[in-house]
Symmetry: C2
């Protein structure tokens, strides 16, 4: 993908940077591990420090000093996760902040406006993430609303896209624009997934995401839905499965033809002492590692595995030292690149 801020080879796994930071990782260490694209979460940035603030400061790239590519989600998924704190209507979603209970409203129009003002390279249409399980009737009704919201997202994008806050007059961005991706829904119903894919492609986006997966269904079902949808998405445009996954899933879905994935697992697991390794998951807090001088993953050549031992990482996790979270995160994010068993990703 030739994006305004970076060229990104696919398939790519994108580290999640919820609040304008990949938790605990300085930007230059992300660059050193050759991360080309990271995520930001519109819901969190909308609440803190606020979209208008980031726009004033020159956009998300400048705000966090990240000069490579970024993608923002629409905020929809986070809002739908609020459960009791939200109310969905045709117009959009009213929700209460998880921070202070204040009331807010997110719609296709203002999600897109927010994302334009944040200024990521790739922004996502505002969709409804269908809950799981959902009956065929409910999943259809949700899918139809998402299709109407995709159209409204696209119209809002066309109307506002000139307001992106990238450095004015910079040659780097001459003629370059944000890309708005559509999102396929349809619950766990193959016929709806097919229909959603076709009608989303009819709306014509430069890239397509598959949403509403990894919401509690079996992994077989995830894979089946991905296969069903991929068949109907154009091969010459990026195809993005949102919110997956474990290393073995990443390899599996990439083999199916998925170009982009993102997940909090590598970063969140790291903070709880869970290392992803070529030999499976490793709870580094386990007592058996207390005297273990081996690298976290003997098949990994990341800077953490080259320098530190399991015994040291265990000590850091057991004592709650912040360096533990950082080292575990750096390893987990490096794994796709440095693990000999899995060389597909950044």
């Amino acid at each position: 993908m030739n994006l305004p801020h970076a060229e990104v080879e696919t398939p790519v796994f994108m580290p999640v940077g919820t609040q304008a930071t990949v938790k605990g990782m300085p930007q230059h260490l992300l660059e050193e591990m050759d991360a080309r694209i990271i995520l930001g979460n519109t819901y969190h940035l909308y609440l803190r420090p606020g979209v208008e603030r980031i726009r004033e400061l020159g956009g998300l790239h400048k705000f966090m000093s990240w000069n490579r590519a970024m993608l923002t989600d629409s905020g929809g998924f986070q809002v739908f996760s609020l459960n009791d704190l939200r109310k969905v209507s045709e117009q959009g979603v009213e929700f209460r902040s998880h921070l202070d209970g204040s009331t807010h409203f997110l719609s296709p129009e203002n999600s897109i406006a927010a994302q334009i003002h944040l200024g990521a390279d790739i922004i996502m249409a505002f969709d409804e993430c269908t809950e799981h399980p959902a009956t065929h009737e409910r999943a259809r009704s949700s899918m139809e609303m998402t299709l109407r919201w995709l159209k409204r997202s696209k119209d809002a994008f066309e109307a506002k896209k000139s307001e992106v806050p990238w450095t004015i007059g910079s040659d780097q961005f001459a003629g370059k624009t944000q890309s708005l991706f559509g999102i396929v829904q349809g619950g766990m119903h193959a016929d709806l997934r097919r229909e959603s894919a076709k009608r989303t492609v009819d709306l014509d986006f430069p890239g397509y995401a598959i949403g509403g997966l990894s919401v509690g269904e079996s992994r077989e079902l995830t894979r089946e839905m991905i296969e069903v949808v991929l068949e109907h998405l154009p091969k010459d445009k990026p195809r993005y499965v949102m919110g997956v996954g474990y290393p073995e899933e990443i390899v599996e879905y990439a083999a199916l033809g998925v170009d982009m994935m993102d997940c909090v697992i590598p970063t969140r697991a790291a903070r709880h002492g869970l290392l992803l390794t070529s030999e499976g998951r490793m709870n580094i807090k386990n007592a058996k590692y207390a005297g273990d001088q081996n690298p976290p993953d003997p098949n990994c050549s990341c800077w953490v595995c080259r320098r530190y031992t399991r015994a040291y990482l265990r000590h850091l996790s057991m004592t709650g030292e912040p360096l533990g979270g950082l080292l575990n995160t750096a390893h987990n994010l490096s794994l796709p690149r440095h693990n000999e068993a899995c060389t597909l990703f950044y």
Copy 2:
């Protein structure tokens, strides 16, 4: 100082690495800021992961993958800070762990044995940190016990020093040994400080520390005690004031002839959003920084100040993001080197 693991220019400010980590900082970033010597705290390492464990793993340097110089304290200061959890006798200090309440005993002999087995380049004699305020009588009695404990520390060191766990047979360490420093006490009484200095020098150590300062006294008194003691310490041996201080104190004491200092202020303040700058202390959480695109300290050329803005650091601190602690720490530790107003230190 030509230490086994590094040459260290003085005056030097030593970052504190309590639990075998300078909180949040990966070792290679400490190296990149040219830190040559860091501290470890024997009390904390004794409790977790345990001295015997670290000895088995090849010593503290190898355990934490830090190949430059280290200094450990005796554990005395931490134990004296436990207040209700300790009982002092001529033999040593019985204390209860702040972690699980278990009972332990620290004496000159086993503090020195522990420090030999941790294997720092410089280790500290086991002293009693006299409380403040203390009457002349109480300060004398405490000082006398410290002098007896210094002698016992030295005897224990001579008896055990061959047990240092540095890599056996490595040419790097041929003929090189740990250095045991003495510590001057005497409360806030100039005559006792003088006497303590002279009698400590009579015991003949390769370096001398001034302990029992920064315990609640005025800064004038701190300075007076330092001046009184320095007069009686040999100029050709390292002179170390323990537990200071703020950047302006560091400059002031270095000008008096102090060679070594350490303090948790730069690292602890960083985690609470307090930046040390050439223009004084800055609480980065202050609302006025929310839109401030300036570097944290315009006179600083550290990697944090070159890349990030006050607005971004404020956002990280307000949202409790771990990167905030890391960036604040990296700046605060870099300050002595990169701040144009203060070029004295590492």
